[in-house]
């Protein structure tokens, strides 16, 4: 019964989102929604690894940039965007398999440092190899519509949500949680912890790569380095922590908060808003490690129904 209710809510929300481009003509709002889908995608995929499996990664900017780079290349080589987007996800996954996996082998606690090193290596290398900005060719510019970007972003966000939700509510998800809560105990219970950590990393990298493809499809011109910028590691971490680590709704809520605050402050306060974000991030890590979701849990709002809250 509860499942049915949730399903109907989900269908309603998705239906609403599908119809938005027909109703709202404001490009600003559409762009804002696209950014929301992008943020919630990467926050959701970061959360799968960082929140549910307990492996905090600071290297997601490398996966994001990889997905973006591959999508942009293939798409401007006249491949259909869906195919290019998928290829972007796969290439991020490959990157994670080749260089991210060794990071998981490191002694406990060093995974964030290894992934951070990976992100910095990727950023500098791309800045050196591809120093020039990328532009959309003219025929692409002529066919540029905001609604097509919107639908790609929406579908990727939904796919990500669905994949994470399915994974978390499966045996694999239970293994992830066990690893997060106590890795040694999980190992002792017969869970192959390394295998499951790799699984979480690969899924997370794939979804982050899909997020990168939204960026590649949406932006008209940028330096390749921009998508490898370390802020793409900071952003999903921040959004997930604001919303609630290890919950399904958390990253979405966090993205909404982040985007709203960003829109409110970025223009009026300029650079200071980044200082505020950094500071609030520190405060949340220290004093509200469960994020906004833990507040909802305390005051028992309907948002915190058990299956949505996750574990």
């Amino acid at each position: 019964m509860k499942d049915l209710r949730q399903l109907s809510i989900a269908v309603c929300v998705i239906g609403l989102l599908v119809f938005i481009p027909f109703v709202i003509r404001s490009e600003y709002l559409i762009n804002l929604l696209i950014m929301f889908f992008l943020y919630s995608t990467i926050a959701q995929s970061w959360n799968l690894l960082g929140g549910f499996t307990g492996q905090v990664s600071l290297g997601h900017s490398a996966f994001f940039g990889m997905g973006d780079l591959m999508t942009r290349l293939l798409w401007t080589w006249k491949l259909p965007i869906l195919l290019a987007s998928f290829a972007g996800g796969v290439s991020s996954m490959l990157l994670a398999a080749i260089v991210g996996m060794p990071c998981l082998r490191m002694k406990r606690g060093y995974f964030p440092i290894g992934t951070l090193a990976l992100a910095v290596i990727a950023q500098i290398t791309i800045g050196n190899i591809l120093p020039l900005p990328t532009y959309l060719p003219r025929e692409y510019m002529e066919g540029y519509t905001h609604s097509s970007r919107y639908y790609l972003a929406l579908s990727i966000a939904i796919v990500t949500l669905w994949v994470v939700w399915r994974t978390v509510n499966s045996r694999t998800g239970l293994a992830f949680l066990a690893i997060r809560n106590d890795e040694a105990a999980a190992e002792a219970m017969g869970i192959k912890t390394f295998k499951f950590k790799v699984k979480a990393l690969l899924i997370s990298a794939f979804l982050t790569g899909l997020g990168g493809s939204i960026f590649a499809y949406h932006q008209v011109s940028y330096y390749h380095e921009a998508s490898f910028n370390l802020s793409w590691s900071f952003l999903p971490t921040l959004a997930t922590f604001i919303g609630g680590l290890g919950t399904i709704i958390g990253p979405i809520l966090g993205s909404v908060c982040f985007l709203t605050l960003n829109e409110l402050f970025a223009i009026t306060l300029g650079q200071i808003h980044l200082v505020i974000f950094g500071f609030s991030f520190v405060l949340i890590v220290l004093f509200l490690p469960g994020g906004l979701m833990s507040l909802f849990k305390q005051i028992k709002l309907p948002l915190s129904t058990r299956s949505l809250r996750g574990p």
């Binding site: 905090v56 600071l58 260089v99 060794p102 990071c103 082998r105 490191m106 002694k107 406990r108 606690g109 060093y110 964030p112 440092i113 290894g114 090193a117 990976l118 910095v120 290596i121 500098i124 290398t125 050196n128 370390l230 900071f234 971490t237 922590f241 300029g270 650079q271 200071i272 980044l274 200082v275 974000f277 950094g278 500071f279 991030f281 520190v282 890590v285 220290l286």
Partner: protein, 294 residues
Amino acid sequence: MRKVGFMGQTLVYGILNGTVYAMIALGIALVFGIMKYLNLAYGSLIIIGAYGSLFLFRMGVDPFASIPVILVTLFLGGAILYKLFFSRLIELPEGEKIKNSLLIGFGLMNVFDNLAFIIWTGNERSLTPTYSGVTFEILDLRIPLIGLIGGLIAFFLITILHLLLSKTYFGTSVMAVSQDHEAAGLMGVNVNRTYLISFAISVGLASIPSVLIGLQSFSATSGMQWFNKGIVVVMLSGMGNIYAVFPAGLFLGIIEALSVFFFGATYREVTGLVVIMLVLILFPRGLMGKRIES
């Protein structure tokens, strides 16, 4: 023969850079060895110190003479940072400590970098005393004066730190706390104060690299780059082993110099990180790490 001389010159610069890296790493390793915190904002603190010495330099204070002032300021700043944020993580298990201190450092880094950017803009700055270009020659090798002074300071510093850790009561309590902070607390060591002082010392130590980096060039957002050097050295030296930091720093400096010699300067920043990835994959406990599993 000229090629050999060129190589030798590259090595000299590598070694001198290596001493700077070692001094960055010293502060990071101290905190990591004692309390398993990884202060990601360390690079940003160095840059803030560099701005401080630039401020004093413009008022007519010699960069090397400004070190004590900056040291005391950063020491106090470190104590405040510890009291406000890092002291709240003491009770966590080791892996969580690394993770959470890293996240807090990540946030603080954003705060400091952007504050520095707002106050001093993103322009490249540098301290330029009259002797900044002075070099002298030994055996056909040119040695810059500043680098040599830096090396001497590094040597001096490591000796003092060694004396502090091995000959004083504070040093004994640091050793006790880093081995088992609960047991140390039960034995009557003031764990909180030991942590506070060692964290503040670590941040205070940032004053020396900040002046040396200030004499090269720096900008508001280059803190991360220097933290990277530091963390590479810390990992090479086996995470928190203070005595291995100096050779590991020299090793990184030489490796970088060689990579500049063979591959060009663009990949200088990458070399150390690639080395560390390889080291971590091949020797998960660092090159000179203790072979004991805690």
